[in-house]
Symmetry: C2
Subunit: 194 residues, 2 copies
């Protein structure tokens, strides 16, 4: 990918975190990226194209740091710890995580009214759910796959819900993390009972 494109997408991610998808102005994006509006339209088809590619960009970035988290650890984590780490990864108050979470929330909210965003979103969600289901399976190998899938859907939706509350100022990050840990506890306890 061309460096300019990356530069613009990074700016878009920052801007979306600050103003939201709804508040993203092409002119403002140009200013943030330090380029002209004309150049934006040279690299992207239209405003929706920018949005779609930014979603992709953010997803890639999230995958990279999700993978990194596992790879970097000198000794591999226990399954239970890895599950928790993976879910808590998105509940951290750092610039990149904030950008990713905010953008994700915006895209989710926009997809309610914009058909064009739904496919990408559904695909990304599915990958995410399956990853969590696999981790759950490592913790509870005897649990039936459908139960694992359901628990994964709940935990990821739970994370999105908590994340929105955090970003909208209704929940402090530490508390959100505590609640997320509690959800993992509850789901694992329920799986054990099956």
């Amino acid at each position: 990918m061309a460096p300019r494109t990356t530069q613009i997408l990074e700016a878009a991610a920052r801007l979306i975190a600050r103003r939201g998808v709804r508040g993203l102005r092409v002119e403002e994006l140009a200013a943030e990226a330090g380029v002209s509006t004309g150049l934006i339209y040279y690299h992207f088809k239209d405003r929706t194209g920018i949005l779609r590619q930014t979603l992709e960009f953010i997803n890639d970035r999230a995958e990279r740091y999700t993978a990194g988290q596992v790879a970097e650890g000198a000794e591999p984590l226990a399954p239970r710890a890895e599950l928790e780490e993976t879910l808590l990864l998105e509940l951290q108050d750092t610039p990149v995580i904030r950008e990713n979470s905010t953008a994700w929330g915006e895209l989710r909210a926009s997809a309610v009214f914009d058909e064009a965003l739904r496919d990408d979103l559904a695909r990304a969600t599915l990958v995410w759910v399956q990853e969590v289901a696999a981790l759950l399976g490592q913790v509870q190998p005897t649990a039936p796959p459908p139960a694992l899938a359901a628990a994964a859907e709940r935990l990821t939706a739970q994370l999105e819900g908590l994340s929105m509350r955090w970003l909208s100022g209704g929940l402090r990050i530490d508390h959100a993390r505590d609640l997320m840990r509690g959800a993992v506890d509850a789901e694992l306890a329920a799986l054990r009972g099956k």
Copy 2:
């Protein structure tokens, strides 16, 4: 409130459910309400005024049907059933529920970037969390209050997460309801263990 005003607000609620807060066009609202744009501006100060009053209108309506659900039942429900009913109330594919859920999602998403909305949102969320905590307490009277509060925060955030997935086309309503029931199961099982 003047009948015309109500008529316009109802149309606005329908339209917000269909196009979102950001997609609300005054001209389209006029058409939907069967009046002229001029009349809209006769009754409301500006676009923001329409939005604010519509959200108020929707809130009132939600309170009415939440209360109604409990009052109407000939015989009072068992605590467990009442808890489930209360949570599943927002996961129904009827026009009014869709309108309310959509508006709530829009509000939550907008609050990420708009300080002005946060207080109202926080207040409404608190009431909602406390209501669920009370219901949980009726099902598990021996559980410690902080555990009830945490479970209530999780369940309401879970509901918001599932609702968004449903509205954004990533989850069918029946499946969302199943998942919500599963979450209640898991939380109650966890509370029993305390």
